[in-house]
């Protein structure tokens, strides 16, 4: 007896059409696709995919991951894999093969995300007609047994005629902001939030939009760091196909005098498009400069050399060289930075003594430029230049403008982020609707001086409380009934 109610009530029961045993011999193309569709909307398959994804993401937390910067740099990747070899020994090669050191860009991960997308789409498309049906044409008619067997049920005796009773019940339900629909034989159906199922549709589509936004970001997002000398007036090209340049008029780092912890980094930036100043702003860690779809973030800072290189009287480089490689030359410690000159097929190493080191060949305030062939690293020439001076090698002139602070600005352009924002709002909205606007249904029938009230909804203490309240309210809708004895 309960079975009939269960299928009626179980909101999420899948109505998988029974397949006859004999059907298997001939699977038409339509049938084939129907079965594939069945897999995509199977909630069990969906759950398994979510669990696989969970396990996958967990591996990405537990196993050290190479950042994309490391992964895309052959040398850095090799160093990273060597370190992993030491740590995981024989397993490292297998782990690398399985993509476990770059989980989030691995093929396996993309396959799981793809499967999740398809599954969510399947579930949602399958669900929409059901939700629409429930909203537009809810099942109204119920059997008499329903009132005797439903999960929530009760009754109130009334002195009025059945027609009057049901009219009162309808008016009261409407006043309590139920949607009320008439059934046959003094029956009413009432519901609240019958549209609430839209919440899960919104949430699921929002999640797909999140995945899409992430894909857009990964494929089209632009990201680079440019180092700009603080002061000195140099305008550094932003690149990325724009004619923008950035100048930093100053950079300041402040520290807590007691603990030495940094408290603020501020760059004063001027953004130009061509010769035109388009924006001037103080950029801090949490206040980027935004312009034309680009954002400029405070990234790093430090000390660097400010140099200019020209070839045949045309400037080929003007900017900052950060000396980040340590080395030794003539037995003394040095620091090296490299400038790439792709148009000339050359590299220029810029070398100074490590600070505090007295170098036999390089005086303080001097740098040495070493010119190398980009293709094979063969050393072509070298020259030592004093601060503020220019040295010449053939038709190249190399100027050591000054040494000073630079600010590292992260340049980003991410067409995906706006979609991520929209998707986030939709996801939260969808969840709020889902969890705060749960559909509720009540049936009432007046029969032989009794108003029967029942609902087959899921067991829930909140709804039970509400139902009990409705029942005790219903007692007050009618004149007290004189004892029939």
């Amino acid at each position: 007896m309960n079975d009939q109610l269960k299928t009626d009530t179980d909101f999420v029961q899948e109505s998988t059409p029974a397949t006859e045993a004999g059907d298997y011999t001939e699977v038409s193309i339509g049938e084939f696709f129907r079965r594939i569709y069945q897999v995509t909307y199977s909630k069990t398959v969906g759950l398994i995919i979510i669990l696989i994804l969970t396990a996958y993401v967990l591996l990405g937390v537990l196993i050290p991951q190479a950042s994309s910067g490391v992964w895309n740099d052959i040398q850095a990747r090799e160093n990273f894999l060597d370190a992993m070899q030491n740590r995981f020994r024989g397993l490292a090669a297998l782990m690398n093969f399985l993509g476990l050191f770059n989980v989030f860009t691995s093929i396996g991960f993309m396959v799981v995300m793809g499967a999740l997308t398809i599954s969510i789409l399947g579930c949602t498309t399958h669900r929409i007609p059901q939700l629409w049906q429930r909203y537009k044409h809810p099942r109204i008619q119920v059997s008499d047994r329903f009132f005797a067997a439903a999960r929530y049920r009760g009754q109130v005796e009334t002195a009025a005629s059945d027609e009057q009773t049901i009219a009162v019940a309808k008016a009261k339900l409407k006043a309590a902001r139920y949607r009320v629909l008439d059934g046959e034989r003094n029956l009413v159906y009432a519901d609240k939030f019958s549209w609430g199922g839209i919440g899960t549709v919104i949430a699921h589509l929002a999640f797909i939009l999140i995945i899409a936004a992430y894909v857009i970001t990964s494929l089209t997002g632009y990201e680079a760091v440019i180092n700009i000398p603080a002061g000195g007036g140099k305008q550094i090209p932003v690149g990325a196909g724009t004619d923008y340049t950035l100048e930093a008029t100053s950079f300041d780092a402040s520290f807590d005098p007691e603990t030495g912890r940094p408290t603020d980094y501020v760059s004063n930036l001027i953004l130009r498009a061509g010769d035109q100043i388009v924006k001037e702003q103080q950029v801090r860690v949490n206040t980027p400069l935004n312009y034309g779809g680009f954002s400029f973030h405070q990234g790093s800072y430090g000390n660097a050399l400010d140099i200019t290189i020209s070839s045949k009287n045309a400037e080929v480089f003007s900017g900052v060289v950060v000396q980040s490689w340590p080395g030794t030359w003539m037995g003394e410690a040095i620091v090296v930075g490299t400038v790439e000159l792709p148009t000339l097929g050359l590299l220029v190493d810029v070398i100074s003594p490590r600070s505090g080191v007295v170098h036999p060949a390089l005086k303080a305030g001097q740098v040495m430029f070493v010119i190398l062939q980009a293709s094979d690293g063969a050393q072509l020439n070298q020259i030592t230049v004093d601060h503020g001076q220019t040295g010449k090698i053939g038709d190249m002139s190399l100027t050591f403008d000054r040494e000073g602070a630079y600010t590292g600005i992260m340049v980003r352009n991410d067409p995906g982020s706006i979609w991520m924002g929209i998707a986030s709002i939709l996801l939260v909205a969808g969840m709020m609707i889902t969890f705060l606007c749960r559909p509720k249904r009540v049936w009432m029938r007046a029969q032989d001086g009794v108003l029967m009230i029942a609902s087959p909804d899921k067991e829930d203490s909140g709804f039970r409380r509400e139902f009990t309240e409705l029942l005790s309210h219903a007692q007050t809708w009618f004149e007290p009934v004189r004892s029939k004895k």
Partner: protein
């Protein structure tokens, strides 16, 4: 030694009432402490492990008191309060001094809201953990309350946890977007939070898809809270941007 003359039932009621009274007092004190600390530092409790652990404790006590008010199940305290106490002990093992904020953490309003959602969602997760454990222990201890009550509390608390955690993660992404221009970087802390979120998502779908209730659903809730603790204490063993604290 004194002998008590009260009946066992009566003394149990008294102990339970005392527990509730103490919990309320503890909640008020933790609230006051956090309030004063926020007034002194001028920002929410997110700048170091001490502040966040106290805030986490606050979230657990708040979630417990809400559950108590809704369901009148004082037994939850058996599991929830030890977690809260453990966190407080941990909080005072960590440096309690007031520190200046490093630049990345200076978006005070956004971070305060971000941490607020984290604390509430983790608190609700702790309550659902407590309910799940009591569900599993039910046959052993034969509590007076029905076993289904614990199943429902576990589920309801998870239904609160999930959206709050969603908002927390999205606010974290918004912060990363303003500070670094990228909303998601797979840094271990945010990735661990994603794992936790997926576990709770799996829990909700297991209930819908497979009708998981009872034991299996309780086990998932315990795994979910283990994931919360892992994401929380993760700072100690994985680096990344979030290791600022």
């Amino acid at each position: 030694m004194t002998t008590t003359t009260t009946t066992p039932a009566k003394s149990a009621v008294n102990v339970a009432s005392f527990t509730t009274a103490f919990t309320i007092i503890a909640f008020v004190l933790v609230t006051a402490y956090l309030g004063m600390r926020m007034a002194i530092t001028g920002h929410g409790p997110f700048s170091n492990q001490h502040e966040f652990a106290v805030a986490f404790t606050w979230g657990i006590l708040a979630a417990y008191l809400v559950a108590l008010w809704r369901y009148k199940v004082r037994m939850l305290a058996l599991l929830v309060l030890p977690v809260a106490a453990g966190l407080l002990v941990y909080a005072f093992q960590m440096g309690t001094e007031v520190q200046s904020l490093v630049p990345a953490l200076q978006d005070k309003l956004l971070l305060t809201i971000h941490v607020g959602f984290a604390v509430l969602s983790y608190g609700a997760a702790c309550v659902s953990f407590g309910a799940a454990v009591l569900y599993l222990l039910h046959p052993v201890f034969k509590f007076k309350l029905s076993r289904e009550t614990f199943d429902e509390i576990g589920y309801k608390a998870a239904v609160v946890t999930f959206p709050l955690m969603t908002i927390m993660i999205l606010l974290g992404a918004l912060w990363a977007q303003t500070a670094w221009g990228r909303y998601w970087g797979w840094d271990p802390k945010e990735t661990a939070a994603l794992v936790t979120w997926l576990v709770y998502g799996a829990f909700l779908h297991a209930r819908i898809a497979r009708g998981w209730r009872g034991t299996r659903s309780a086990v998932l809730l315990i795994v979910g809270f283990a994931a919360v603790m892992f994401a929380y204490f993760g700072n100690h063993f994985f680096g990344g941007l979030h290791s600022y604290g």
